[in-house]
Symmetry: C2
Subunit: 296 residues, 2 copies
């Protein structure tokens, strides 16, 4: 069972009731919080051997564990607020290791004004760090992954395919996401944690639409190699979003002028299901669900 | 560095601002939520080899991971509402294992009316399950661990020292805790996750008081062995709480009549720091901080 299927299984088993606006199946869960705001809740675990190597710097482990969660809050248009940190470390790790992780967490939390309000520490076979992050979003700013509409233009922030090089110390696109959510009508958004290939499948799947992306338009990082490899490389942590053509025009006109957003138009949402990668001569290849799968 | 010291280090590093009513250092973090209620947030991780064996039933793993979190919400007087589940499993585990964990989680969630609203699944070296649980409590019902006052009587629910036998399938004392928090003025409460010995140190330490508990009064489970061993055995998950003598009288008078609470008076809170175990002849032994330490 692949991860996508297991998530479907969980979605079926844990069907949300009110006041849960959105349960399993988006980057965050959404709760009806106050009159003006939704609460956002997300949790992500990073584990030695899967998300970082045994020799990874503890500072970087702490940073990354928080950054992936911030990225989830960002992709819903929200602001992170409070974190719970659960840490498992093997008995062989010393106190310097624990302090290093703490420093990494503190550093990114102070940058994004997040408070760590709880958590626990445990012995575990290998290092594992699980963070639950609570955030909020003004109701009109909430962006889900299931709102893409045929005709929407598709954008990504930054460059694609860099994942493995920068992935420990990446900067979550929180400011960019807030800029977008507050100033424009964004129909759908997701963060690229498992590669453009897989995350675009998620976005279109949730929205019951398809997409066409254009090989020539995809902004590749230096050394990313072939497009087809780059889009199946996880951990870019860029934003992928869609907006109507009219709204897209506004976004493109204003971007860079005041806010220095690095955005690239890479394709469009279409009515028929399926994701297509269109080459130079207009020849399309249908992309199968792929990307970085946790349960191969 | 022992766990208590590391928690102190974290408490210092992550000092809470408003609207955080209580940050690190209690069973849950407390946020000012609505006019009438506080929000409670807690997260606990359970790991293979530490909290359960490799051969543990997946159902029991799921049950236990949720139960330890429910116990934390209970000890603050609150009601659990929403959960985020982060799961790490080794590549060797099959889908039946994942489904078993899911069933255990569903079973206890349906019993306590909790909704799983998100989470993630990962590859990890050994199985590790981290759950963040969000709950709420009516403001007058909030019970913290730092409110014990000299003169208070100390009570525990159930029996002590059973830990290792029942610990996978234990029933968190949620109904009992709510009964207490709603009907009586409970000055302080904590759940016994690491043994009466250590958790009483935590409660008295947080409250800047001491305590005397009486050997003869401690309700031991069958086969618990000597009192001194039993109180350093973790995972009882009973409640330890204190109330004024006047309130204690009310609790004792009413208990059992309508609600069938199993409560035992085991001692009292005193002004001078230090926890004393008093024997038959009135001879006291000072208990050093101990219990189940995660970082020995």
């Amino acid at each position: 069972m692949k991860e996508l299927e297991f998530v479907k299984y969980l979605t079926r088993k844990f069907r949300a009731k009110r006041p849960v606006v959105k349960g399993i199946g988006d980057d965050c869960a959404v709760l009806d919080y106050t009159r003006d705001k939704y609460m956002l809740l997300t949790s992500d675990m990073i584990a030695e051997g899967t998300h970082f190597t045994k020799g990874a710097l503890p500072f970087d482990i702490g940073w990354k564990a928080m950054a992936v969660n911030i990225s989830d809050i960002a992709s819903m248009g929200g602001v992170p607020k409070y974190a719970l940190v659960s840490l498992g470390v093997s008995p062989g790790r010393g106190i310097a290791f624990l302090k290093g992780i703490t420093k990494g967490i503190r550093s990114i939390c102070s940058r994004f004004d997040i408070e760590v309000i709880g958590g626990d520490t445990n012995r575990a076979g290998k290092t594992v760090l699980s963070i639950a992050l609570l955030g909020e979003v003004e109701k009109p700013c909430l962006v889900k992954r299931d709102g893409a509409k045929p005709g929407d233009f598709l954008f990504v922030t930054g460059v694609i395919g860099e994942g493995k090089k920068k992935h420990m110390k990446f900067m979550p696109r929180l400011l960019e996401a807030r800029e977008l959510a507050k100033n424009f009508r964004i129909n759908s958004m997701i963060d690229l944690s498992d590669g453009l290939g897989l995350d675009l499948q998620r976005l279109t799947g949730a929205s019951s639409v398809g997409a066409r992306i254009y090989k020539e338009l995809i902004p590749l990082s230096k050394g990313a190699g072939r497009v087809k490899d780059a889009i199946y490389r996880g951990e870019d942590f860029e934003l992928l979003f869609s907006a109507s053509p009219k709204e897209s025009k506004k976004i493109v006109r204003r971007r860079g002028k005041r806010h220095g957003l690095s955005l690239t138009l890479i394709g469009e949402i279409v009515k028929n299901r399926g994701v297509w990668l269109i080459g130079k001569e207009g020849k399309g290849t249908r992309l199968e669900p792929g990307g970085y799968e946790h349960f191969k």
